[in-house]
């Protein structure tokens, strides 16, 4: 049962001109959140945009005793609300509805988990990394960006014993090129018998490539899609994505706020997925 929290902004860590991390006091959301879930955010001031915006829950914030006290959001500034999240100073407030959506499945050993993140698609993987670690599931983060200055929190993952593989398009950090490069090679090297789950979040093209690579090598994937969402609760039917239950069945438009945002990669009818407007 989601709550709507009038959350105090605890911190605002500006990582670059475009990215920041906002810390929010929201114990009830933090306590209930599962990896890959999201919140619907709005500003409560006269004239603020009407509709809420979806954000993955990035970190679970905890007090000294480890009790969940809040969440953080990894925000990329692209418009009005993401701009406001970038500007929001500690002491301000943001309305946060959540946690919402179907989470990632958290594999257990001996299965391995690979997380593939592009840009702000890193957001759902902090909580997933912690959950995997709790299960002692060996985990790797494949993380790509345009250049070194677009990669954040790498040491955060390393400190949590996540193996990290990096790629940048300009070669300024990690391998030069797309993150699907190393992913493809590593997939080819992994013994067929070794169980693996791949989780991906990032630009649609990247997720599609990951899902196809994985399928080609018979691996399961989960992708976290980012359609426009009007309500986050199943009320408006704006967030639909085309999925098919079997390879030959026709696709159906299902609500990604309820049945997603995490979907099995092979179920997504990538050809029919509308380009983000």
């Amino acid at each position: 049962m989601p709550a709507d929290v009038d959350a105090l902004v605890l911190s605002n860590d500006r990582l670059s001109e475009a990215y920041n991390v906002v810390g929010l006091a929201a114990p009830s959301i933090a306590a209930a959140a599962q990896p890959g879930q999201f919140v619907m955010v709005r500003e409560d001031r006269p004239g603020a945009p009407l509709l809420r915006r979806p954000f993955s829950i990035f970190e679970i914030l905890r007090d000294d005793q480890g009790r969940p006290t809040g969440i953080s959001l990894l925000n990329k500034r692209v418009g009005v609300v993401t701009g406001a999240l970038y500007a929001r100073e500690p002491g301000g407030r943001l309305q946060c509805l959540g946690p919402l959506g179907r989470p990632f499945s958290v594999g257990t050993p001996p299965a391995e988990a690979w997380m593939v993140a592009g840009g702000v698609g890193l957001a759902p993987f902090a909580t997933l990394a912690e959950a995997l670690r709790e299960q002692r599931t060996p985990a790797t983060l494949y993380y790509g960006g345009r250049s070194a200055s677009d990669l954040f929190h790498v040491d955060w993952f390393e400190r949590r014993d996540i193996r990290v593989v990096l790629a940048t398009e300009d070669g300024s950090r990690g391998e030069a090129g797309l993150i699907t490069g190393p992913l493809e090679r590593h997939l080819a090297l992994l013994p067929a018998a070794a169980p693996l789950m791949i989780h991906a979040c990032g630009p649609t093209g990247m997720m599609r490539a990951v899902a196809q690579l994985a399928q080609a090598s018979g691996r399961a994937t989960e992708v976290s899609l980012e359609p426009v969402m009007g309500c986050g609760l199943g009320g408006c039917y704006s967030c639909v994505v085309p999925v098919r239950s079997g390879p030959a069945t026709p696709s159906q438009l299902v609500r990604s706020c309820l049945q997603g945002p995490v979907f099995p990669g092979h179920q997504v009818a990538w050809n029919e997925l509308a380009p983000a407007v």
Binding site: D4, L50, R52, C231, G235, S238, C239, L253, A274
Partner: protein, 314 residues
């Protein structure tokens, strides 16, 4: 709670309070049972249903505009049979008062839907969507033509003893004439307004922002037009009116009641704040207390308009 009488009568249908969830903005109701006690709402107008399942439009289906939003969902839906089998039992369990919003491509389809739903336990009333701007056939074609509107209402009237509530489109020159046509055809009440046909273009790509090109405008932006239309219909008909369009606060609820609505529907506000319902109810109750009214119906249609004022056109 207080001693204020919040009940309202919509013809044969009595609601415990005048706050109704608007069709298409509250799923089939069951989606919201986690966040709203469905039995506390006056009623729920569920998402528009056809006889058959419908896939709806390709996304993008919504876009935000100044103080409003456009939608072109295209009436994606599970069809009336699955609704009766899969959703109605849960709604009954939650003690929700269910108004089923129905949509057809022919007069016969409306009548057929009405017959099917008359036999289903737990349907309180039928709202006839003759005003959806988002589908090619049916819907608004009836809503923009007085004869068509009259025919649909009459046919449904004959097919059911459930309360019949046609939902009017604002995309017409004279909405009051449609309210009159509905009244004459035997409607128990009318609801208005549905969304305004609209369009938004992405200037960078020079493509429509909605896959369907056109969409319906809802939200606070339309409220002043919707209030005017409710007022006009109040002058034109005796049957009850459910007013809507951009209601976000209890003050907005009162504005519609005072303009002449017997009950109100709340749509877009659910997306902004799913916990809005108790706030609206408390705000309305507080308003009535503050102004010394014992019942909601005491303020319905009480806007003080100088004698001379009337619609200028037509």
């Amino acid at each position: 709670m207080s001693s204020i009488n919040l009940t309202v009568n919509l013809g044969q249908l009595q609601l415990k309070n005048p706050l109704v969830a608007a069709s298409g903005c509250f799923g089939y109701g069951t989606e919201y049972s986690d966040v709203v006690d469905l039995s506390t709402l006056g009623a729920i107008a569920v998402k528009g249903l056809f006889l058959q399942e419908r896939p709806g439009h390709v996304p993008p289906r919504i876009v935000e505009t100044p103080s409003g939003m456009l939608n072109a969902i295209g009436l994606q839906g599970i069809g009336v049979r699955r609704f009766i089998d899969e959703r109605l039992p849960a709604l009954r369990k939650h003690r929700a008062v269910v108004i089923v919003n129905i949509c057809g491509t022919t007069v016969d389809e409306y009548a057929e839907l009405a017959r099917i739903l008359s036999d289903a336990p737990g349907v309180a009333a039928l709202e006839l969507n003759i005003s959806c701007p988002n589908i090619k056939e049916g819907g608004i074609t009836f809503g923009c033509d007085l004869r068509g509107a009259h025919d649909v209402v009459s046919a449904v009237r004959r097919a059911t003893s459930l309360p019949v509530i046609p939902k009017l489109t604002p995309n017409v020159t004279d909405v009051a004439s449609f309210a009159r046509a509905a009244e004459e055809a035997g409607a128990d009440a009318v609801s208005l307004v549905n969304t305004f046909l609209a369009m938004a273009i992405d200037v960078e790509t020079r493509r429509p922002r909605l896959s369907n090109v056109f969409g319906g405008l809802s939200g606070p932006a339309i409220r002043p037009i919707a209030v005017r239309m409710v007022y006009e219909c109040r002058q034109a008909v005796r049957i009850p009116i459910m007013g809507m369009g951009g209601i976000m606060t209890a003050e907005d609820v009162v504005e519609f009641l005072v303009a002449g609505a017997d009950a109100v529907q709340v749509g877009t506000a659910n997306f902004v704040d799913p916990f809005v319902w108790p706030k609206l109810l408390d705000g309305l109750t507080g308003y009535l207390e503050r102004h010394g009214h014992g019942a909601v119906r005491d303020i319905v249609g009480t806007v003080a308009v100088p004698g001379a004022a009337q619609r200028i056109s037509s």
